[in-house]
């Protein structure tokens, strides 16, 4: 248990709207260990980005966050003061966002920004911080690192900017990195490089990594464990092999059936699709939130809240009334169709 760098139990985010309460995230529980990558995957509006903001304490003011437990490296960050949180962010917990151009300040050189990050949190001199910046820029694969320090973000390509962002999050040696769609804005060739880099650095510095993405290909290649989110809830959780090899929730099965895979899906054939749209999360919700779009929905599905239940293997769990055997049959049908 002590190994958990981040421990989240029953995290809920509600946003009051004129039309009612928006239940954006509901009853989320997970943990991340040192050296482990947890991927949170889901479509837009499923609450994956709000989850990361909730962990970092960066939710919009009107959002209401509750949890039974929110611990980073043994420290309670649920009730931490704002000033303590801003100490934690950037030092113990690093963040990488989707669009590096908007997360870097265009008016300062990257050297300035790297050095300031460290000096904000650690009692080091400018020279020491600069040495650390050069060391990390080289680590993230930037050549001529010392001369890069005087460059401005607009002088760098997208891939280089994202490398600078990664170096910046590493400046204080964090325990946990939260990467929200870190490669979505990048070219496919650069995407692979950045993912490879993240994975190497994570092992080297023994950090926990939460990877938030909608790209199932990225998840499969990078994650140790996967949490699939739908409409504010985790609907399936397990190791990457379990979730991709034996998807058990109908939503996970549907998602995997949607994506074309070179060499596997036949050209010109119809791809699978999930009919309908994500339900509104405003007001009182009951029952399975996927029931409207699920082709296996039964009358019980909309009756009561559907709990999380273990699948046939240890560490694999899902939120559905179907038994693991029934789900396996459905998956087989999808594969055959």
């Amino acid at each position: 248990m002590e190994n958990h760098i981040l421990n989240v139990r029953n995290l809920t985010v509600d946003i009051p709207l004129p039309s009612g309460m928006l239940h954006a995230v509901q009853g989320l529980s997970f943990h991340v260990d040192r050296g482990e990558t947890l991927a949170i995957v889901g479509e837009s509006g499923c609450g994956k980005s709000l989850t990361s903001l909730a962990i970092m304490g960066l939710l919009p003011k009107k959002a209401i966050r509750t949890a039974d437990l929110l611990e980073l490296a043994g420290e309670d960050i649920l009730n931490a003061t704002e000033s303590r949180m801003s100490d934690i962010r950037g030092s113990l917990m690093g963040m990488i966002f989707q669009e590096p151009m908007t997360s870097l300040n265009p008016a300062y050189t990257i050297g300035n920004q790297l050095i300031e990050t460290m000096r904000r949190h650690r009692p080091v001199s400018v020279d020491e911080a600069r040495d650390r910046a050069v060391f990390l820029l080289e680590k993230v694969g930037i050549t001529a690192a010392r001369s890069r320090l005087t460059q401005y973000p607009h002088q760098l390509s997208g891939g280089l900017r994202q490398r600078v962002m990664i170096a910046m999050t590493l400046m204080c040696g964090p325990d946990l990195i939260i990467a929200d769609e870190p490669t979505t804005a990048l070219d496919v060739t650069i995407q692979a490089q950045i993912l490879l880099l993240l994975a190497e650095l994570q092992k080297e510095f023994d950090m926990g990594l939460i990877l938030i993405t909608h790209d199932l290909g990225v998840v499969a290649r990078v994650a140790d464990r996967v949490a699939v989110m739908y409409a504010g809830q985790v609907v399936e959780e397990g190791s990457a092999t379990q979730v991709f090899g034996r998807p058990t929730h109908p939503y996970t099965q549907g998602l995997l059936d949607c994506i074309p895979i070179p060499g596997k899906t036949e050209r010109g054939k119809h791809l699978g699709s999930i009919p309908g749209i994500v339900p509104s999360l405003v007001g009182n919700l009951s029952g399975c939130r996927f029931a409207d779009r699920c082709q296996h929905a039964m009358t019980d599905c909309s009756a009561a809240d559907v709990g999380f239940r273990p699948a046939s293997e240890v560490g694999h769990a899902y939120r559905c009334l179907l038994t693991p055997e029934q789900s396996a049959q459905n998956a087989a049908k999808l594969g055959a169709a």
């Binding site: 692979a192 499969a220 070179p262 999930i274």
Partner: protein
């Protein structure tokens, strides 16, 4: 009705880029000698990294930009001599982001019928019926006719964009990243729809995408672009089974299929994408190429015809290829 619907020969498009107030402008060859024949009814995909000239090429083919050199013909006629209105009836675009490509102040009906208004279609009494037929065809409930784009989901918006593109029954549809702004489950719906429409309306698609999985699923032929040139053109099966150009190989390696037993690929494309204003000498790909040879930095490769297409690489040049590589 010839078999070749769009024919581009040695098309160039150069932009003059300002390098500063007191410096001379410098040329950027966004499209640098593209020769391409698009057959009626085929799905041609153009793939490449950002900045390789995909979108400029699409604009040239749409007649929105005049080429700086070379010749583009649509059904045998030079594109720049076809009147704008007629051109719009023949070639239509579908853009990436359905949030910015639809006018938020116009209703769905007004958006879809606008091409009919512009084309001064003779029979306004039929517009509504035709728009509703088109909506049904693209899977939009006709009751949305008077709704506004902000009331629609991303997938529905993209369907509106498709309906607008198709209402005048164009010959060619250019899809610029048609699904990259959409969620996975919506992406598959739109791809299925595009497939169905192609069969039903006899369309020719040009699909611009960086998602190779989508390209493999949709395209019949693939053109790989790098720094304004088509470095490899081949039938889809051929390209995915036996890629020839080292750049194509690297692109294919970077496709992440959802298979947890595989790791993250190392594409060996070390150096970043070169600055297109200042392209490398010789073969523009040589600084990133895993199979670079001595003369690659000196001499630009010629187009070598291969089965079903061409490749531009010294490795396949009978005179310059293997022997020199050994020497």
């Amino acid at each position: 009705m010839s078999e070749i619907i769009v024919s581009a020969s040695d098309v160039m498009r150069t932009f003059m880029i300002s390098a500063g107030v007191f410096r001379a402008k410098r040329p950027l060859h966004a499209v640098n000698g593209v020769t391409l024949d698009i057959r009626r009814g085929e799905v041609l995909a153009i793939v490449g990294e950002s900045g390789c000239g995909k979108t400029t090429l699409a604009k040239l083919l749409l007649g929105l930009l005049p080429p700086s050199g070379g010749d583009i013909r649509l059904d045998g006629r030079p594109v720049m001599t076809i009147p704008r209105l007629e051109m719009a009836g023949l070639v239509q675009p579908i853009f990436q982001d359905p949030y910015s490509s639809l006018n938020p102040r116009k209703s769905v009906g007004a958006i879809i019928t606008l091409p009919l208004v512009v084309q001064k279609d003779q029979d306004p009494s039929t517009w509504r019926r035709r728009a509703e037929e088109m909506m049904a065809l693209v899977g939009l409930p006709p009751r949305l006719y008077n709704n506004f784009p902000n009331q629609l989901s991303g997938g529905q918006r993209q369907r509106v964009a498709i309906a607008r593109a198709l209402i005048n029954r164009p010959e060619v549809v250019i899809c610029d990243e048609p699904t990259s702004a959409l969620d996975v489950s919506v992406q598959s719906q739109i791809l299925n729809l595009l497939q169905d429409l192609r069969g039903e309306l006899n369309l020719t698609y040009i699909i611009i995408s960086h998602n190779l999985a989508v390209v493999e699923h949709m395209a019949t032929r693939v053109a790989v672009m790098y720094l304004g040139r088509i470095v490899e053109l081949a039938e889809t099966d051929q390209l995915f089974k036996a890629p020839k150009h080292p750049y194509t190989m690297a692109l294919l390696e970077s496709v992440l299929t959802p298979d947890p037993s595989l790791g993250i690929p190392d594409t060996h494309l070390g150096a970043a994408y070169p600055n297109p204003v200042d392209p490398p000498s010789g073969c523009t790909f040589h600084p990133r190429c895993a199979q670079v040879m001595a003369h690659c930095s000196v001499q630009a490769p010629k187009r070598v015809p291969v089965e079903g297409g061409h490749v531009e690489c010294h490795l396949f040049d009978a005179n310059l290829g293997k022997e020199k590589a050994i020497a």
